[in-house]
Amino acid sequence: MQVVFERPKSLTDMKFSYCPGCHHGIIHRLVAETIDDLGLQEKTIAVASVGCSVFSFNYFDTDAIQAAHGRAPAVATGIKRARPENIVFTYQGDGDLAAIGTAEIVHAAARGENITVIFVNNAIYGMTGGQMAPTTLVGQESTTTPGGRRPLAAGYPVRVCELLNTLEGPSYLARVSVHDPKHVKEAKNAIKEAFRAQAEGRGFALVEVLSACPTNWKMDPLESLDWITEKMIPEYPLGVFKK
């Protein structure tokens, strides 16, 4: 008998501190598997952001830096410009990337910085306790949109892939989900493509991963899978936008 599935080398032994049913764990694993598959562990430098994944620098067994909220693409730019031979990726949530970090992600993409961005979209602010995110859906309950998000007061959700797709700079943009094994496989393919894009010097690559936040959506992990398929995917269509 052969082992067909086990912990990837590019993850440390540290236990994830994420909630039960949070998809950060799946996505971390897919990134680590990709780094292993492409043989990049010793070349990779991870840029952690601010959000539930703030400690991702402890989970990835690579060199890593913890960046200020929203600024990971700028930090990654500094690292990649200084050391183009390394593989540099950021791992960011929706507050980090689509709120405070909007300028940094747009301009890193516009410049075609040869970095890889993993963007985890769970339509809410997890770490700080469930406030509205730029990606929160109209009508979605959050601690700062009691009764549901109303456009007149709080505007409309932001579709990052579509936004960045107006730019010349990106070489690969994809939106995926990890709510069942089929989609996990597709997500891994997209993540691998995004790292390959960097390794082959093709330029900026971003994968947006729809993710569950059972705790702040106030659902159990299985219910949250349905919320992704029924509510999130219609708003954030899956697919490869650019390659």
Partner: protein, 67 residues
Amino acid sequence: MAKVSFAEELCKGCELCRKACPKGIIEMGEHINAMGYRPARVEQQKQCIGCAFCAMMCPDLVIRVER
């Protein structure tokens, strides 16, 4: 022939594996682990086809699959 093993102390009882298993052989245990969750387990190993869907869904690297 396939074998699936669960590192119970890592399990958070999220049940994503149970839902993903095409043979329906994953159940949550009666007991609780040190974190306070009911960990996933498989009684009927012989029914396991080694598809690793459970491991693919697990956010906590609980599951190891051999085939």
